[in-house]
């Protein structure tokens, strides 16, 4: 099933993200997904996230699908040229994976193979364009595909609390023009900035899923403030996490904060995307507290 069908029906679509392991044992990931992500409609599978080599996104998507979950195949342009990307898209369609999230990808320098070649033959925009071409029955070289072409729900990302929001909106528009049908956002901690962004983004008429990362500690919040693009955790949230360290460690504070953000932003967006970063077990209580 395509996630876009749910948006069309007016559903508030909730997805969560899982990261494949550095190895071939996937049982733990599947067990966690089945146990904790029951209340979630779709599961994003990251593609060598942060440029760290791991089990493939496509294989993990297939394993999740076999367990009855709805996977979203994250596809980055960092590691593959246009031939490999198109081939992997055809492979995905053949396996019945029809939700794709097109990303440029983090730079190689952020990962664990710093001497690798950064490919970036395409980028998020030209990848979306490429998917549309395949859907029209032709590859990027202008050659006809044999038989029925693939059809995907095409997602993309945007960073609503970025310090260069106008530039982000311009890129979002480019993605829409290239074929993006829905958006997932970078983690949001400043609802007022998100709402302001949505006021500007609604001109594109595409559903947007609010991005949420549950805060694990004050240290994590500070680390993200210093290092992660498009994220700013306000000081009062950091103080809240500091106030009761045990409560924060147990995940109670992080879930409370996330639930508040969701409640505040929900009227302005069309869905929710949770990046649990190992805290998949907190997802059910988050959804409950947020009233979803």
């Amino acid at each position: 099933m395509k996630i876009t069908e749910l948006f069309e029906r007016g559903e508030f679509v909730v997805s969560a993200e899982v990261g494949p392991p550095k190895g071939i044992h996937i049982e733990h990931l599947l067990e966690e997904a089945k146990t904790y992500l029951k209340g979630v409609t779709a599961v994003n599978v990251t593609d060598n996230q942060s440029s760290v080599m791991r089990l493939g996104s496509l294989a993990t998507c297939k394993a999740l699908k076999d367990e009855g979950l709805l996977p979203i195949y994250q596809l980055t342009c960092r590691d593959r040229n246009r031939i490999a990307l198109q081939s992997d898209l055809l492979s995905a369609a053949m396996l019945g994976i029809d939700n794709v999230l097109a990303l440029t990808g983090d730079h190689i320098k952020l990962g664990d193979h710093k001497g690798a070649k950064p490919v970036f033959d395409l980028d998020s925009v030209s990848l979306l364009h490429t998917i549309c071409k395949l859907e029209a029955g032709e590859d990027l070289g202008g050659n006809k595909l044999v038989g029925e072409p693939p059809k995907f729900a095409k997602g993309a990302v945007v960073s609503p609390c970025s310090d260069s929001v106008d530039s982000q909106l311009a890129k979002m528009e480019r993605k829409v023009r290239a074929g993006a049908e829905y958006f997932q956002t970078q983690a949001v901690y400043e609802p007022e900035k998100f709402i302001e962004f949505m006021e500007k983004a609604k001109q594109f008429g595409k559903p947007v899923q609010l991005g949420i990362v549950i805060l694990k500690s004050a240290g994590m919040a500070k680390f993200m403030n210093d290092n992660v693009a498009g994220i700013h955790v306000p000081q009062d949230m950091i103080d809240e996490l500091k106030a009761d360290k045990e409560k924060a460690k147990a995940g109670i504070t992080g879930v409370e904060i996330a639930a508040r953000i969701i409640k505040e932003c929900k009227p302005y967006c069309q869905g929710l995307h949770i990046m649990a970063l190992g805290w998949e077990s907190k997802v059910p209580s988050l959804l409950e507290q947020a009233g979803i």
Binding site: R82, T104, D106, H107, K109, L110, P118, F120, D121, L122, D123, S124, V125, S126, H129, L140, V157, V158, S159, S162, D163, S164, D166, S167, Q168, A170, K171, E173, R174, R177, A178, Q186, N227, V228, A229, G230
Partner: protein, 205 residues
């Protein structure tokens, strides 16, 4: 070595599009083969329309100090133009665009790589010698060399406080491009069709 080739007449004509132009030719650099004859012929055609406010032919515009001295004498002609059309390699165009930050500065040539010594250029500006120059879509800032991922269709989500995710001392190339386009009133350039780089160009030279 590198070769500069004139962009197609249609491409340049659509850039000029009835605007008043000031022309800068950069010739004389030993590392670059410049299409002198073709450029001169084409510039005659441009001048026939009566829209050329001035022309200079010089060398090493990639040297900012040298370039400023040459341009200063022609500032009134440059100010009278809507567009500055530069016939040079990519480094030359970038140097001019940085100096004339309020003007639309366009590349009339593509730069193609040839084996051998690449010449001496300032570190701030670099030309990828891609064969198809993107400077006219990006306000004269090269997305190939100013962006660590050489992205052609806008910034990634990796910049933090305007700095690249790869190097906190490197400004995000696409944020620079956005600011420049905003300054020269050319944000519409961001709506240009999806760009995909053609790596085959080298073989076609």
């Amino acid at each position: 070595m590198l070769i500069t080739q004139l962009k197609s007449k249609e491409t340049i004509t659509s850039l000029v599009n009835g605007k008043k132009i000031f022309i800068i030719n950069c010739q004389g650099c030993k590392e670059v083969h410049f299409p002198e004859k073709e450029a001169a012929e084409f510039q005659k055609e441009l001048a026939a329309d009566g829209k050329v406010t001035g022309t200079i032919t010089t060398d090493y515009i990639c040297n900012p100090e040298n370039m400023k001295l040459r341009l200063e004498k022609h500032m009134s002609e440059i100010k009278a133009a809507d567009l500055v059309l530069v016939f040079s390699c990519g480094v030359g165009v970038q140097t001019i665009a940085e100096y004339l930050e309020d003007k639309t500065v366009c590349a009339a040539c593509d730069s193609c790589r040839l084996p051998g010594f690449q010449g001496v250029t300032p570190l701030e500006y670099d030309c990828g010698q891609c064969g198809e120059c993107y400077l006219n879509l990006t306000g004269g800032i090269c997305p190939i060399t100013a962006c660590s991922k050489s992205l052609l269709n806008g910034q990634c989500g990796g910049a933090k406080n305007g700095k690249c995710e790869v190097d906190p001392n490197m400004e995000c190339g696409w944020e620079r491009i956005y600011r420049r386009l905003e300054k020269i009133g050319r944000l519409d350039a961001l709506k240009s069709p999806v760009q995909i780089r053609n790596y085959a160009t080298d073989d076609e030279v």
